[in-house]
């Protein structure tokens, strides 16, 4: 027996697509108003223009904030992914209580509210006699994205066949060489996923940046928040926002497509499993990926 009647299935499909419309509507609204002539986002629409894009890219504060955020997100993604590799390798070996405790501490940033961590870091900066700086923002972002890196890298690492690494070492590779030549290349899809997730999260982070970015050097979200309350700046914010939304949607599609392609290739190269088992594995790992990602 099917679990749903034909009518039920149709109803669920309508419900699902209605939600997709609801979820994308605000994004579409931004896209529409980014090319609308009137400086106030209101209906009726007043004609097509690209002037907001020109003005946005001519606004040094805005582009400066963008560049700052991209730089911070890149460094935070590299730090977190590197630490994520270390943590995953370490957790692979640890057993029992030590492993559970280490994992709990490493995943704590998922639980502590960003606002609390932000004020804590502000206190820490003050206590060590430093001043708010972009470096402090980078460190704060690296901590909050570290769990994402671990949750993406660890399952992939666990799914690798340890005998490949052992074989490399039996053939004379040092542990480091085995790591570099065997383990890391096999981890590549997960490392790319990790870096992307960390980058996107840091790029969008507001709480920590709002407390730790020096006043003359806003990150992009900090600038965005300030200008969302300044009507004159709103059209430029919408224009850049539309570009960023289009870019991130494209990135999601490319990342997921690329990851599937890469993993299929790697699975094809390294395992002679029957096609069905491979497919099952693919499905499972994308489930995990999605899980961790969301």
């Amino acid at each position: 027996m099917r679990l749903t009647t034909r009518l039920g299935a149709a109803g669920l499909a309508v419900y699902f697509w209605a939600f997709v419309v609801f979820l994308f509507a605000p994004l579409v609204v931004l896209l529409i108003f980014s090319v609308n002539k009137s400086p106030t986002p209101t209906l009726p629409l007043s004609g097509f223009t690209t002037k907001w894009f020109h003005e946005a890219f001519g606004n040094g504060t805005l582009t400066g904030a963008l560049v700052r955020s991209i730089g911070i997100a890149l460094v935070a993604a590299v730090i977190a992914t590197a630490l994520g590799i270390m943590a995953s390798l370490g957790l692979l070996v640890l057993r029992g209580r030590a492993a559970a405790l280490a994992l709990t501490v490493l995943l704590l940033p998922l639980v502590v509210p960003y606002i609390c961590l932000a004020v804590g870091l502000l206190i820490l900066v003050q206590e060590v006699g430093a001043r708010p700086s972009l470096a402090a923002v980078v460190l704060g972002h690296s901590v909050i994205v570290l769990p994402f890196a671990i949750l993406v890298i660890m399952p992939r690492l666990r799914s690798l066949d340890p005998s490949m690494n052992e074989a490399a070492q039996d053939l004379g590779a040092s542990p480091l060489a085995a790591l570099r030549l065997i383990t890391l290349p096999l981890l590549a899809p997960a490392l790319v996923s990790s870096a992307i997730i960390c980058f996107v999260t840091s790029f969008d982070e507001f709480a920590i940046a709002s407390f730790l970015a020096p006043s003359g050097q806003p990150t992009y979200p900090v600038f965005l928040y300030a200008s969302a309350r300044t009507p004159a700046l709103l059209p430029e914010v919408i224009a850049i926002g539309a570009l960023i939304i289009a870019g991130s949607l494209l990135l999601v599609v490319l990342a997921e497509g690329g990851r599937r392609w890469a993993e299929r290739r790697l699975v094809g190269q390294t395992a002679a499993a029957p096609a069905e088992a491979q497919e099952a594995k693919d499905d499972q790992s994308s489930g995990e990926f999605a899980m961790v990602n969301g």
Binding site: I123, E127, V252
Partner: protein, 293 residues
């Protein structure tokens, strides 16, 4: 400490130290500030004192207690509504859209990967007094020009709506994973034994999917408890959440000692929630949720 011996296991130490210095140490400092052992107020003596705590818990800090209760109410209402609304989405993906369900899952999740702040700003544009909804009603002559719907923005409605919008893709995920990994033979067995579709759902599918439902519920509840950006942009003065109170004490009207009390209170609540529901989160993170667990 056997596990500290040199070897691959020790690789976990640098990340642990990193989290220790940049997360545990800040939280330790907040604790010190909350009991007056450190202060940012010039001329204030530093000595152990629970006066800020007693003010918040039982004394004159009634406004913050009220804000706390209000935040918890909003967080609970949003979490319940989001979980209920997400279930059919997950059910559709797992049992109706068999083919291409991962592509559809990605469609559902994609908005979640776009900038959170931008999405809140988009809602502000949609809901505000001469925003998309109101101006559309004017253009269609459904409301007199210039008269805005009063509860559309800067209200409980707008804060709850935007939080609901933000979290729904994320909640459908753990529910989907549990439904997806469910042993379908159990549902077939129920049907073979004469259960109707409705009975199969209420007595087999739904109970077996509860770990995912609870995980989804907690996935919203925990971050919503500490939320402060949405109320800043679409909430009025009466819709600010507990996170906004913390923010204010470290921003415009600095009193780090009192703010630290609120921050620690929030951390304690979130940690208690995590401990209570942690079992379900872990089950779920490992994607091991199987019937019978």
């Amino acid at each position: 400490m056997r596990w500290l011996r040199p070897g691959k296991g020790a690789l976990v130490l640098p990340p642990l130290v990193f989290v220790g210095v940049l997360l545990l140490l800040p939280v330790a400092f907040i604790s010190l500030y909350s009991v007056g052992l450190r202060t940012n107020i010039p001329g204030m003596p530093t000595a152990f004192s629970l006066s800020n705590w007693s003010d918040f818990l039982t004394g004159g800090g009634g406004a913050f207690r009220g804000r706390f209760v209000y935040s918890m109410e909003i967080a609970l209402v949003v979490s319940v509504l989001t979980t209920i609304a997400a279930y059919p989405l997950a059910y559709f993906l797992a049992f109706v859209a068999r083919r291409g369900r991962y592509a559809l899952l990605l469609v559902l999740l994609a908005p979640f990967f776009t900038s959170y702040l931008l999405r809140v700003i988009a809602w502000q544009i949609i809901l505000n007094n001469n925003g998309v909804v109101n101006s559309l009603l004017w253009t269609l002559h459904l409301r007199p020009h210039g008269s805005a719907i009063s509860w559309l923005i800067y209200s409980n409605f707008s804060v709850a709506l935007v939080l609901f919008y933000t979290w729904i893709p994320f909640v459908s995920l753990p529910i989907f994973v549990v439904l997806e990994n469910m042993d379908h033979r159990l549902q077939e067995a129920a049907a073979d034994l004469g259960a109707s579709r409705a009975a199969t759902f209420w007595r087999v599918t739904l109970p077996l999917s509860l770990p995912g439902v609870i995980a989804g519920f907690v996935f919203v509840l925990i971050p919503t408890t500490g939320e402060f950006i949405t109320p800043l942009l679409v909430g009025g003065p009466n819709n600010q959440l507990f996170g906004n109170s913390i923010q204010a004490f470290f921003g415009d009207t600095p009193n780090w000692n009192y703010g630290s009390v609120l921050a620690i209170a929030l951390i304690v609540v979130v940690i208690v929630l995590t401990l209570v529901f942690g079992r379900f989160l872990q089950t779920d993170l490992r994607a091991e949720a199987r019937p019978g667990q």
